[in-house]
Symmetry: C2
């Protein structure tokens, strides 16, 4: 799982083995809840195989805010970093193979990493990138119609359209399941 990064990170053999040793492999079926709303997130997951969604309940409606696939790391970021009760659920969509690491061990790694300028800067870059991604998604809500957002999704994140049940995608795009179905149908018949 992690060997692909081995030669890209300036870490001693000793540190590398220590860090990799923190991770635990698990296999879980589809629809497994990895974190409950209200719980304080203690685990960060990395996906070897499968996919995961982050969702929350709003007045009885199941609203999905994010999707994750192979090689991405997943947590309720605010809960994990700041020890707040999680506002969201984290749940597998497909049967998945995951590696998880405890928050204490992440903290250890981050503290040590900050002393290595190259990795520290990479961490900061990652945080910037995450902000840019959210900005982009937010922009699409003030400038595009739902139909346009769906088309962008097909182009920019085809995995979502291909692997995720449609009713989860609907709330992610901010529309009802019925309307998303209409959008798809219209796209088909126009071409």
């Amino acid at each position: 799982m992690f060997s692909q990064f081995r030669d890209k990170l300036p870490l001693s053999e000793e540190k590398w083995n220590k860090y990799v040793g923190y991770f635990n492999r698990i296999e879980v079926p589809a629809k497994t809840t990895l974190l409950e709303e209200g719980e304080i997130s203690k685990k960060l997951f990395v996906i070897e195989k499968g996919c995961i969604r982050v969702w929350f309940n709003h007045n009885g409606k199941d609203l999905t805010s994010q999707f994750f696939f192979e090689n991405q790391s997943v947590a309720s970021i605010e809960s994990f970093m700041k020890k707040f009760p999680s506002p969201v659920f984290v749940e597998t969509i497909e049967p998945s193979v995951l590696w998880w690491i405890h928050k204490n061990d992440v903290d250890t790694i981050i503290e040590e990493i900050k002393e290595i300028p190259e990795l520290r800067d990479r961490l900061i870059d990652m945080l910037f990138q995450r902000t840019f991604d959210y900005m982009k998604h937010f922009f699409s809500f003030i400038k595009d119609s739902p139909a346009k957002r769906y088309q962008s999704l097909i182009e920019e994140k085809p995995q979502i359209v291909q692997r995720v049940p449609q009713h989860y995608i609907a709330s992610y795009l901010g529309v009802s399941t019925v309307h998303l179905s209409r959008i798809k149908s219209k796209l088909l018949h126009e071409k």
Copy 2:
């Protein structure tokens, strides 16, 4: 402008004076463009007095994505950090008193600050906070109606409602000016 921070930052007198010396004070009228779309952002602004909006043109429509007030710093963040052509305009709304600093000097400060763990961590915290803010704004688009978003704005960012012309607020909330006017009217007549 900056003396309020003097005793809160672990900096030598020498460094402090050097950093403060990087800043330039300007006074500008309302509707002054501080950064054009397509331009590469070289200046970071701090607002002493006044307010600023960030906006972009989409198919001839003027869409506002952010507002800034006293003591906030403003730039086209992606352009400033990564030297990309800015996707947005930056423009004053009110006559304003601003302090600006050149990107080169910001880079100098950031590089030096990273060696001070307390400030380095504060920088990282700031980046997290910015991401959380965007997440929250994004959530409101998938869970709330425009009317609810407007009410939240009144509660959480009253400055915007009080100081910003309404047609800028409309696009920020993702609705037409006519519809925002309807929302206000409905709120009034219900109470």
